[in-house]
């Protein structure tokens, strides 16, 4: 197990370094940030001063050398636009994203597993059909539309929850509800399919023949075997949320890392782009590691 973690860590570090090199040079190909930071009628002298102040006049390789040197000392550089450490900017946003992702994925996982398992067990019944329809709608509905409709309905017309922002627990309801829908739809489908296969296996028939009740059949015998593909999909969906939920962040004014990343790309705020990528990449690496451990926990064959 330790060897597996060690191997994973080394290969992830190598990928991370590759990513830094790629993003560093690609972002610098997109052009000069001074054109976006300064107004259109700023003089050449102002632009020159801006580039000089931020070390953008040096050859790109020299800039890369400086960047790596600073990085080794834990310095991710300053945000060009916000004039403060890029890592602070990213971590502030990432904390919001992490909370949103953890809460949403916990709710999604529990709900999808319970509903999906019951739907598979009662295959063909009204419950199963409604669950399938809901999951299909959830997996295919555009989240920006759902978000706006949810605001109009629940905030403007009914006045139940605030439209957007942060501050109280009520502010979290709409963003989480909107983020919940798609992964819930997807994971529900996978749970149902995987459970159907497992429920058809000989050991379930044996259990039934022994007189085991329905609940233990679903949650003790079948679920554990049906979980492997489900965990893969949960991992995928969680990784997407850790990268930031741009639409939800934009509409609900949620200060997460997704919108920060998009804004910093559009504004060529190089250090923030790099810091955001490193932080999210690290988080996704840790999550993948957890998923591997979960596999091993569920299936003893993987441990060896």
């Amino acid at each position: 197990m330790q060897r597996m973690i060690g191997k994973r860590a080394i290969s992830s570090l190598i990928s991370l370094f590759g990513l830094i090199v790629l993003v560093f040079f690609l972002s610098r190909l997109t052009g000069d940030p001074s054109a976006l930071f300064l107004p259109v009628d700023a003089s050449e002298e102002m632009r020159q001063n801006f580039r000089e102040l931020h070390g953008l006049n040096d050859p790109v390789l020299v800039q890369f050398g400086h960047y790596l040197g600073d990085l080794v000392r834990g310095d991710f550089g300053d945000s060009l636009r916000k004039a403060r450490p890029a890592l602070d900017v990213v971590l502030e946003a990432f904390v919001w994203t992490l909370q949103l992702a953890v809460i949403t994925m916990t709710l999604v996982t529990v709900a999808a597993i319970v509903v999906g398992s019951v739907a598979a067990f009662k295959v063909g019944t009204k419950f199963d059909r409604v669950a399938s329809l809901l999951s299909l709608i959830g997996a295919s509905a555009p989240d920006f539309w759902i978000a706006i409709v949810a605001i109009v309905l629940f905030s403007v017309n009914l006045g139940w929850v605030p439209t957007s922002g942060t501050g109280s627990v009520w502010h979290w309801i709409l963003p989480i509800a909107v983020l919940f829908i798609r992964p819930f739809g997807l994971i529900l489908q996978v749970v149902r399919g995987s459970m159907l296969t497992a429920l058809g296996s000989p050991y379930v028939k044996t259990a039934r023949a022994k007189g085991v009740k329905n609940r233990p059949i679903i949650f003790v015998h079948t679920l554990r075997n049906a979980m492997l593909p489900v965990i893969t999909v949960i991992g995928d969906q969680a990784a997407a949320l850790l990268n930031g939920a741009v639409v939800v962040e934009t509409i609900f004014g949620f200060p997460g890392v997704g919108k920060l990343m998009i804004d910093s790309i559009l504004q060529r705020d190089f250090n923030v782009i790099l810091a955001a990528i490193m932080v999210t990449a690290l988080a996704i690496f840790l999550m993948n590691l957890l998923i591997d451990l979960a596999y091993a926990l569920l299936d003893p064959r993987i441990r060896t």
Binding site: P39, D41, L53, S155
Partner: protein, 499 residues
Amino acid sequence: MKPRYALAGLLLATTTAGAALAQDSEVTIVLGEELDLVEPCMSTRSNIGRVILQNISETLTELDVRGDGGVQPRLAESWEETEDGTWRFHLREGVTFSDGSSFDAEDVKHSFERTQSDQNTCEISRYYEGIDMQFEVVDDLTLDITADPAQPIMPLLMTLLTIVPSETPMEFVREPVGTGPYVLSAWNPGQDIRLELRDDYWGETPEVTAATYVFRSDEAVRAAMVETGEADIAPSISVIEADDEALDHAYPNSETTYLRLDHSVAPMDDARVREALNLAIDREAFLGTILPEGAEIATAIVPPTTIGWNPDIEPWAFDPERATELLEEAEADGVPVDTQIRLIGRTGNFPGATEVYEAIAAMLTDVGFNIDLQMVEVAEHEQYYSKPFVTDGPVIVGAQHDNSRGDPVFSMFFKYDSEGRQSGISDEKVDDLIDRATAASGDERTALWSELFAYLHDEVIADGLLFHMVGFARVAEDIDFTPTIATNSQLQLAEIGLN
């Protein structure tokens, strides 16, 4: 807790919160974009200005945008031109900064020097570009400013210089100190910024005791927030959202849209082609359709409230037949009018930008132009808009320019001088008129700018001027606030009343 009780609890909580807000005279303002900086020398940037300008940091003078009083005193009580190029400002006595230190002439000098420092990238400095300005402290409350070349509009230039204490470092600050009625009390990046009223402000005490600024990029959400009572003012929403007559106010937002033409590249080097372009566009057709009814057809790049704006210039009529004739005449003389011309528009530049440029492209194509419309994002747009221009083939750049400062000087050099960064023309008479108007004062200045506008529009046919735009603000019913032409760049809390 049962859902019913949760709901009741929520309703109770919001009602009590609402009552508490009303008692304290606090307002919440929802802006479209988060502030990157809260730095006084960056307050010419729209959202930064809306928070800082005259709320935290004040200026020596201020432009009367609600009346026609011109330049008014703020931190300076009076001023006069003592000799050619030198202005003497008499500063207000008894003014203190929010850190307790008193305001004097040294602070003004330092504030200017700070904008010129190479240790920061203060945006205000662009208004003083090419002017050698010397600040001489005569005594604590008297200051001489000498400019070379002489600046007849020095009092107007001082409406832009935000004053900071002389101890302020050259680098950008995160806790701005100013003489204004409010002080920055909290800044939670990504979430909100809060200003609170000072108890030792030199001027009249405003009604609003505190303001919270929140940021939502979606216009529908900004409008909804005022509707639900979560915010009191949304200074910028789109015409589509502005559907509530009781809450929504239209205001000229000082932006002018136009098509910048590069006269050095064929076929735009031919005046007939430029005239045809102007005649081909049915400007009236946009008003009340793609663009709001309040937008005005432009005959100059600055709004009508600017000095020298020329009421005698007739907007181009819509005459597609004449446009086609002109193109045929030019073609007969060997002008390559069938060359493909790229029309560059900026996505999201203003509400309905894509539709406006699509319609213009169709109108130009109808009369015989060969137009290839390309909508690009801001960074790419900038590459087309500013010099050095892209040189592979003719390009028309659709752009929007903002001048709420009352004088054309902040626009004309950049947009029309041979050396101007976005100028597509090189005309000696234009350069000369800009130079003379910049140096002139009073009626002479007004007359020279007027002459320049007419010459550019009717004779040079410098560009394809389109519209003076309008913005929409949503203001809660219990708030007394009317947006002005300056609402794009500042939002004085002292001008907000509570009903």
